[in-house]
């Protein structure tokens, strides 16, 4: 599959600026430099994080988990990249001939379907049926873009079943994954509102005067009409959704708190316990479940805290998953047709889903077709203070899995206050080798060919935490694109990391 045209790789590398070892100088000068450096670092972090706050995205939930697709505006309409949308949903191959675009897509449990579209036109063909898009199909840098409002129809024509699309909220649920809920108000001296969910949920909880908000970043919660209750304490609940996320707001006449059942399917809202010696606080923080994975953003790092919203504490163990290449930097063109960048993202998303299953927090350094320099990737992982950095590559030379650690000199005896940018990994090599060994052992246990090496592979040397690169290789792009194979690889990686989790946490 060729989603974008090939351009010269390696553009946009930034000169390393952060983390250099400072020379000994006068204290005042050092402080002044430190202050300036802090401002520069803050600016860099702000610039890196800024697009994530403003950007629109479509959140897609399927049986494997959840992923985001960047939404762009063209001619006053919202568009999404068809490649980003389809990659995790099945095996796709595409051909481009001038303005004409032809896509073959096979969902995991369906037959292959063909879609034909022409750049600048609204008419197209899906199988033998004619289709009309609400706005012209677009090709940009070789990538196909379709109007957001048309994706439900297109996916149906491509054989994807059980689609639930909420266009206003930009949420797409594929394959009956929706988590619905029923409420039960238990009246009495201590009234309680009990939410029974059809699946496990892990909302972030925030409270403000007379309200308790449950924000669902990960579970595909779908709500019903708002309810009013004739109760002194709990007066109503309402469901809302926007920009890929959903929220339930419980209204009350006093402070509220939430408690969770062990299976995370039931949440009970009630008044907080009254302390004998002190009056109840005006705003009581509610109980929260274990912190969820951070929301993926295009340029790494967990989401920035929103003002007035208590955020869960930073997870103690968090994996940064870096899908190598992206944007104009396609990586290898496998069999001359499939860009490595597309497959690395598909594998990274599978890994994230498998980490979720293992209860390990993770985030994607790149969650869309964007070009990031090696230094930006390293900055993102270092700023997020991830416990482990995994960078994913895909190749067509040979077959099997190759696990790499950085080719960097052992560290000097004394650890400086500021680690040198070019060799920061030196101080974390033991952890990296331990993680690489565990991942390799897991592949080996599952009868998958695996070998371990060290390599001069950016950005490993600049990562200030254990870091491992994984290269998944097969001469067949069909094998590499197969969801079952991607899941098997993701599962092995997650199990390998889970096995070494305690030792990495301990080393930290």
């Amino acid at each position: 599959m060729r989603w974008t045209s090939r351009q010269s790789p390696g553009a946009g590398r930034q000169s390393p600026g952060a983390g250099r070892q400072l020379p000994v100088a006068g204290r005042q000068s050092l402080l002044a430099r430190g202050g300036r450096a802090a401002i520069v670092i803050a600016l860099i972090v702000t610039v890196i994080a800024a697009p994530a706050a403003d950007e629109k995205h479509l959140t897609v939930y399927n049986a494997s988990g959840r992923y985001n697709v960047l939404v762009v505006e063209r001619g006053g309409r919202e568009y999404v990249a068809l490649s980003d949308l389809l990659q995790p949903l099945g095996a796709a191959s595409a051909k481009r001939d001038g303005d004409k675009f032809r896509l073959r897509f096979r969902p995991p449990d369906g037959n292959e379907q063909e879609l034909q579209l022409t750049a600048g036109k609204t008419k197209g063909k899906a199988g033998r049926s004619d289709i009309t898009l609400p706005a012209p199909f677009r090709m940009e840098n070789g990538a196909p873009f379709v109007p957001l409002s048309s994706i439900a129809e297109l996916l149906t024509e491509l054989g994807v079943r059980d689609i639930e699309f909420h266009p206003q909220a930009r949420r797409l649920l594929v394959g009956n994954v929706a988590v619905r809920y029923q409420t039960e108000l238990q009246r009495g001296a201590e009234p309680k509102l009990v939410f029974h969910f059809s699946g496990a949920v892990d909302p972030t909880i925030a409270t403000e005067a007379g309200k308790l908000r449950m924000m669902f970043n990960r579970a595909p919660v779908v709500g019903s009409a708002p309810q009013r209750f004739d109760d002194k304490l709990i007066t109503g609940e309402a469901f809302s959704e926007a920009n890929g996320e959903s929220e339930i707001t419980v209204s009350g006449s006093g402070p509220l708190m939430a408690t969770f059942s062990a299976d995370a399917r039931t949440i009970t809202i009630s008044a907080p316990p009254v302390m004998a010696t002190t009056p109840p606080p005006a705003q009581a923080p509610a109980a929260a479940p274990p912190p969820p994975s951070s929301t993926p953003t295009p340029v790494a790092a967990p989401p920035a805290p929103q003002q007035g919203t208590p955020q869960p504490a930073r997870p103690r163990f968090m994996v940064a998953i870096d899908a190598a290449h992206g944007g104009s930097e396609t990586g290898a063109m496998l069999q001359g047709q499939v860009a490595e960048k597309d497959l690395t993202l598909a594998f990274a998303r599978r890994m994230q889903a498998e980490f979720d299953k293992q209860g390990i927090s993770s985030f994607l350094v790149r969650d869309g077709d964007v070009a990031l320099s090696a230094d930006q990737r390293a900055s993102a992982a270092n700023t997020a203070r991830a416990t482990l950095f995994l960078t994913v590559h895909v190749g067509s030379e040979g077959r099997g899995i190759r696990v790499y650690t950085a080719r960097v000199a052992p560290p000097p005896a004394d650890r400086p206050l500021f680690l040198p940018w070019a060799t920061a990994q030196s101080w974390f090599l033991d952890g990296s080798r331990s993680a690489a060994g565990s991942i390799a052992a897991e592949f080996s246990k599952r009868q998958m060919m695996v070998a371990a090496y060290s390599a001069l592979l950016p950005p490993l040397n600049s990562i200030a935490e254990p870091a491992v690169a994984i290269e998944i290789s097969d001469s067949s792009t069909q094998n590499l694109s197969a969801p079952a194979y991607q899941q098997a690889v993701g599962s092995a990686v997650a199990a390998g990391v889970a096995a070494v989790r305690s030792s990495l946490e301990g080393a930290r």
Binding site: P9, E340, H393, E397, A409, A422
Partner: protein
């Protein structure tokens, strides 16, 4: 009316013109191919006098992901830089030949090697070396490791190696392996097999 003899003459002339045209196209094609063959089939031994020396090559094999030891007897220049260049150029010649265990792009060459006093080696390759290189972590790393370990095996004292392309620093070889930093020969070598 044209008599029969003239008709036969015209037909023969047309056939001759057609045949000469085909021959001209064939000659043009040969003229284009010969310089290419000259590049591929370049001499592996320099025109140097003196006794032959045993040279060790660490040859990358895509099949097993290892560097295989091979030895050859070569007559080499006395100048250390030229000697190192000829050794690496011979190695690259192995990779560009037919049936190579680790194919490199046509026309790939090592044009210069500079052995510096601080034990660094600068290896300068032509554009075809990098532009025609296959993209992938393992294939790129094996090329660099093969050059570095061959250089180290035949040039005692070399501690680090850096590859330039057409005299300039390049970010990566073919999208993966870093060429901006030195390859440290004192660190863990790429896995090898002696055979």
């Amino acid at each position: 009316m044209i008599d029969r003899g003239a008709q036969i003459m015209i037909v023969l002339l047309l056939v001759t013109i057609f045949g000469l045209g085909i021959y001209a196209i064939h000659l043009k094609h040969r003229a284009e191919v010969v310089p290419q063959q000259k590049i591929v089939g370049r001499a592996i031994a320099p025109p140097a006098a003196g006794p032959a020396q045993t040279v060790t090559f660490w040859v990358a094999s895509d099949q097993d992901g290892l560097l295989h030891k091979r030895t050859a007897s070569l007559v080499l220049p006395r100048d250390p830089d030229l000697r190192a260049r000829e050794i690496l150029e011979t190695l690259v010649g192995l990779y560009t030949d037919k049936g190579s265990p680790h194919p490199l792009g046509t026309g790939a060459e090592i044009t210069d090697v500079f052995l510096l006093k601080n034990n660094d080696a600068i290896v300068n390759a032509n554009a075809a070396f990098a532009d025609g290189h296959r993209s992938g972590v393992m294939v790129e790393e094996m090329t660099v490791a093969s050059l570095a370990q061959t250089l180290a095996a035949n040039t005692p004292g070399v501690a680090r190696m850096k590859i330039l392309v057409q005299g300039k620093e390049r970010e990566t070889l073919a999208g993966h392996v870093d060429l901006t930093t030195f390859y440290n020969l004192n660190q863990e070598p790429w896995p090898t097999v002696e055979q």
